[in-house]
Amino acid sequence: MNSTTSIPGISKRFYPLKIFAVILILCSLALFPFISDNRFYISLITEMMIYGLLAMSLDVLLGYTGLLSFMHNTYMGICAYAVGLFLIHISPTSLWLACFAGVVFTSLVALPVGWVQVRTGGLAFALLTLAFGMMFYTIVWKWYAVTGGDDGLMGMPNPDITLFGWHLGSSSDPVNIYLFTLTVVTICFFLTRRIINSPFGAVLEAIRENEDRASFVGINVRRYKLLGWMLACILASIAGALFILYKGYIGPSTMSAFAGAGVLMMVLLGGMGSLWGAFAGAFIFIYIQDYISTMTEHWEIFLGLFVIFLVLFLPTGFAGLGDYFKRFRKA
């Protein structure tokens, strides 16, 4: 159901240039807040990284396991609410405990949902994600007493970021949140990359390519699909924990079906089946959206046109650009 540009095994080869590029990007990201004191860009890049993580988590599901989730942002939202509620009602200072509780809670929600969903595949799976997503969205939206309904969760405390008793700074400072997000996202990226390149990842790709054949060679397809789903949901929930720390706020609009389609768009923009492509997609999407909506009050027209042109002329996404140029040169 999808075309991918990744060839199994190729990423395991050693490329000094690639490593150099990764270090360059990471260093420039890490140094950015010290070069520029423009807090707007610090916030923007924080948001891009968080959505990049979310897009990557969806890509694990879509690009590697071949399962489409319409509303992956739901699980980001659930975790953000859980972390927020934990900090507000239980302990306003324990950041790590809150994040841990949020991820565990989201996993507990995602597990039964995943268990039901993996019994199907293809479009039925996708529609189930929509059904459950809408259900969670409406519950959050209408449960005013707990979630704050349409107004969202407010009054989030700003816990200090500490590591093994070592105080790193308050989360109310955008620079701290930026660095914290960068660290967590980088760790998640490399962990996911490791998992995807392991035999487990190969099984997921086998399921994507042909479920029947995968089951013939003795793979428990449902079990692996469920594991893939849980991996994606846990990554999304980490994005959710970062989101609420960064925004200090979470509302139902973050969990809506339209926001979900936005995340899907990021993955497509970056190119399915490419982990760093998902980040590129999120970066481009958020920047374009921000840029266009500042330029004109009719931003919807231009965003729509942008999406249409992109799908028509760059279907393999940003990650596929290289192949496109290669083909162009040959021709």
Binding site: M1, N2, S3, L62, L68, V116, R119, T120, G121, G122, L123, A124, F125, L127, L128, L130, A131, F132, M134, M135, Y137, T138, I139, W141, K142, A257, F258, A261, L264, M265, L268, H298, W299, E300, I301, F302, L303, G304, L305, F306, V307, I308, L310, V311, L312, P315
Partner: protein
């Protein structure tokens, strides 16, 4: 005024009207999906376009009934343009791409609506005889709401006749089950897809002008209708026309009755119902949906 029986009739009619509007929109979505495997995310926006075109026609002095005929044709033509320009090149690609493409189209159409008609709500001016109330089974009910039921029934009958009696309809039905066979018969599937897309868009336009006077016309009407019709289509089973009828009636009744009796939980119950139904019947009530 507050007899239990008349309230029951009120609720029954309200449910039917709501179901009817859902049905027409969902039917259009289903025809497009059933024949060409495209989930049209811009369907809600086309519904809004229909309502606005209807408003403009009536506001410039066109008779309401004439507008009722012209609007679906115009929206169908818009559908034709969309299909030939941007959907056609996407035929061979995965469904995900058309999904995102039509999602972009939805933004574009919504933006255009705001650009042309502005943000404020509009109301379609109805002919005098449709504005009043009528006494039916002991309750006073608005004439127009009752009339929409007849209009929707008429559209559904026309659609049924089209699909069962005309050659185009038979080709369409055949194409939804075995497209390869239809192309073997020497019929250009491209035209079948085009016809299906036009018909689906025309249905959205018809729903727009019928539902316009019921509530109000504003730029947000499309997005909301898209979600509702999606729920109907998914519960009924993708591409299943009969399933859509059952699901539309189910959702219309559940939504109306929960709004009346347990107001605070109205939408929650609809979506929990959807999740439960799909959990047990992943392909919907009358699942004829196939994946690609």
């Amino acid at each position: 005024m507050s007899g239990t029986f008349s309230i029951a009739i009120d609720l029954l009619l309200n449910s039917l009207v709501l179901s009817g509007v859902f049905l027409i929109v969902a039917m259009g979505l289903n025809i497009i999906y059933g024949l060409s495997r495209i989930m049209n995310m811009s369907h809600g926006a086309l519904y809004a376009v229909g309502a606005y075109i209807g408003y403009s026609l009536v506001a410039t002095g066109v008779n309401y009934f004439a507008a009722l005929i012209i609007t679906p044709i115009l929206v169908g033509i818009i559908g034709l343009l969309i299909e030939r320009t941007i959907i056609l090149p996407m035929r061979k690609r995965s469904m995900v791409y058309t999904l995102i493409l039509t999602y972009g189209l939805m933004f574009f159409l919504d933006g255009m609506i705001k650009h042309i008609w502005g943000n404020r709500p509009r109301f379609i001016e109805l002919p005098e005889f449709m504005q009043g109330m009528i006494s039916i089974l002991g309750t006073q009910y608005p004439v127009y709401r009752l009339m929409t039921l007849f209009m929707i029934a008429a559209i559904m009958i026309a659609l049924m006749l089209l699909l069962s009696k005309t050659k185009a309809g038979i080709i369409m039905r055949a194409a939804s089950t075995i497209p390869e066979m239809v192309s073997c018969m020497g019929i250009n599937m491209s035209y079948v897809h085009m016809g299906a897309f036009m018909l689906g868009c025309a249905m959205a336009g018809a729903a727009g002008i019928i539902a316009g006077p019921l509530t109000t016309i504003d730029p947000l009407m499309g997005g909301e209708m898209l979600i509702s019709s999606f729920v109907v289509v998914v519960i009924g089973g993708l591409g299943s026309l009969r399933g859509a009828v059952i699901a539309a009636i189910l959702i219309g009744f559940v939504q109306t009755f929960t709004e009346f009796f347990i107001t605070d939980l109205a939408m929650v119950i609809v979506f929990i119902m959807m999740a439960v139904i799909l959990a047990f019947m992943p392909r919907g009530l009358l699942g004829e949906g196939k994946f690609e």
